[in-house]
């Protein structure tokens, strides 16, 4: 099971079925090196498989957001089910992070924004 994918400044997290504290810790420690060695310009949280999330998931997203945003990067969430949307909404995270329907929508944004000129 692939947990993330990195290339050319774009990091995608494939989030697990249940995003709790245990899962968040594994995701963080598993991707620490990428943040240390690269400049992540686009960070994408893919919720396609995720049916459960609690506030530890919010902590993961906002924590990663801070690291990427401090260096001018952008953060997105995609494939958000109704269930997960409710949690993200409640947390107020959409004030700082953009939701897109699919990863393709983000690529459009990347092209428009000049990342892939």
């Amino acid at each position: 099971m692939k947990r993330f994918d990195y290339s050319d400044g774009v990091l995608i997290y494939y989030l697990p079925r249940e995003l709790d504290h245990y899962a968040a810790e594994k995701i963080k420690s598993g991707s620490e090196k990428i943040f240390d060695e690269n400049n992540v310009e686009y960070l994408i949280f893919d919720f396609e498989k995720t049916s459960f999330m609690d506030s530890s998931g919010i902590g993961l997203v906002t924590g990663r957001y801070r690291r990427v945003h401090d260096k001018g990067g952008k953060v997105f969430v995609v494939n958000v089910s109704e269930n997960i949307d409710k949690i993200l909404m409640m947390s107020g995270i959409y004030r700082i992070i953009e939701k897109k329907e699919t990863k393709e929508d983000i690529i459009k944004d990347m092209v428009a924004g000049g990342c892939y000129e």
Partner: protein, 147 residues
């Protein structure tokens, strides 16, 4: 079925058991005939409290977490109990976004989520002795989808 049913589960306070606690509570409340959304709400609230016992109550130490649940008709009552560090200022701890674990990327929204997903919560805590979180929820009282 307007009778009462009770259960108590006690488990080691390690992070893998967060999902175990969620499955236990979901299994226990099936008798109240909840919607999928109500099950998800209760799971989230229990997940928050159990996670707090593990990471804030016991930190790196070992300890046991206890979940007690009682169902009477469609009324659910749950207690999550630890004998960990306890909370010095419960009122402050319950404020949205307040966390003593920012470096661990905690959001400080655990108590807010418990309050949002349950009808009512109460927190009892004593420094050095531990914490008990009590939660109430009545199934079928808000936005019911199936009858």
């Amino acid at each position: 079925m307007n009778n009462t049913n009770e259960m108590t589960v006690r488990f080691s306070g390690n992070a893998q058991n967060e999902s175990f606690a969620r499955m236990v509570i979901a299994a226990f409340i099936t008798g109240t005939n909840p919607t999928l959304e109500e099950v998800s709400d209760v799971k989230t609230a229990v997940s928050e409290a159990v996670t707090n016992s593990i990471i804030h109550g016991y930190r790196k130490k070992s300890g046991q977490v206890t979940v007690y649940a009682k169902v009477t008709g469609r009324k659910i009552y749950i207690e999550i109990i630890d004998f960990g560090d306890g909370i010095s200022d419960v009122k402050k701890a319950m404020e949205p976004m307040f966390t003593t674990g920012p470096e661990e990327e905690r959001s400080g929204m655990g108590f807010s989520f418990m309050e949002a997903f349950m009808d009512k919560i109460e927190v009892e805590s004593k420094v050095g002795e531990g914490t008990t979180v009590k939660m109430w929820k009545e199934i079928g009282t808000a936005g019911r989808q199936f009858e």
